[in-house]
Symmetry: C2
Subunit: 217 residues, 2 copies
């Protein structure tokens, strides 16, 4: 599953057998995830903020207000680290020490570039909405010029990224295998509930199919 690390800092050191540098694997995790944890080094130390994001090919898209400290820093080309983690299960080993988590994560290092071209920025904003709810950008009122101009959108290349995956059951010590304690995995998934219509909806629009049967890819 491993391929070649793209850089020193993107090289996974801990349990490297769980690492890969496969771009398709990174895409799949990014497409399933909803929240990225975006990290930046500042004069006051590191800052890690959760953000919605999108993906366009080998580019990660972040957006927000031009007043956001984090995005402003990113727009200046400051180094960023963006991490997306999917939790798949809790691993209950016979020993406390070997308890673990099944997960899939992508860590991206790099410098972002603001998307200044308004046509490209608009396309990126569509991507961001489509990342949350595929099909939605065709139905929602599209961004007007003021909204497009007033949104900072950053493009972060996926050139320096790593994937780490833990899957499967507990890995216990040989001496512990006969202990009379249950061991296994509690699978965890994110599920969507029935859509809750806005209190102030004036139209008689019913929840669309993509809201009634929402799943992540």
């Amino acid at each position: 599953m491993t391929s070649t690390p793209p850089s020193t800092r993107a090289t996974v050191r801990r349990v490297p057998e769980r690492a890969s540098y496969d771009r398709q694997a990174a895409h799949a995790i990014l497409d399933e995830g909803l929240v990225a944890h975006v990290g930046l080094s500042t004069d006051d130390g590191p800052v890690v903020i959760p953000m919605l994001y999108g993906r366009d090919g080998d580019t990660l898209l972040l957006h927000g207000s031009p007043a956001s400290r984090l995005l402003r820093g990113g727009a200046k080309g400051t180094q960023m680290c963006v991490t997306v983690t999917l939790v798949d299960g809790l691993v209950l080993a016979r020993s406390a020490f070997h308890h673990s988590m099944n997960y899939r994560s992508v860590v991206v290092f790099g410098q972002a570039t603001p998307i200044t071209d308004l046509t490209l920025r608009r396309a990126a904003l569509d991507r961001l909405v489509e990342h949350i709810v595929p099909g939605r950008s065709a139905e929602a009122r599209e961004p007007n010029e003021r909204e497009v101009r007033g949104t900072l959108v950053l493009a972060l290349p996926l050139d320096e990224c790593s994937v780490k995956v833990r899957a499967g059951g507990p890995l216990d010590e040989d001496d512990d295998m006969d202990l009379p304690v249950w061991a296994g995995v509690i699978p965890l998934t994110t599920v969507a509930g029935a859509p809750v219509t806005a209190d102030d909806l004036r139209s008689d629009a019913a929840p669309p199919g993509y809201a009634r049967h929402y799943t992540r890819p």
Copy 2:
């Protein structure tokens, strides 16, 4: 819901009306969360890594191998930022621009201290297991001295933390309220599936109640 920010860097600037500095609110989010995104500034730029964690009163606990670059940095007293985010729903507005996410997050800034006392470290490791599965540390084989000595455990005070919460329906522009498009929230929750017993379980132990009926607090 707001109280006084504990420091400049812990002051929420964007949409401050969603922020609070209430310790009980922070505890509740940390207790429900499973994964923390731990950020550190390094010579190669920021690094953000997902980690399991625990809480003991007003202290966040992190643990791992002494070989972990991130934990080693934290053990030296390097500034850290640790963020825990719970995703509660997707907010579908009438306009693409006002799409959002309902979430609860805690951002902690500070310097961690390694727990060197082995009795305290053992107690912290119990807390970490109990954070994942309450009740489990009494059943699993407890850590032996080699395991306790071989684990780096960091204590990060919650002195500098902020809470941010978005809840409720979409907030659209007045001009968009009559658009014939559905608007509302798709609630998201994390649910546990039926426990999967380890292939190599030798005892006839059945999945315990805390695995069969797993929920977060």
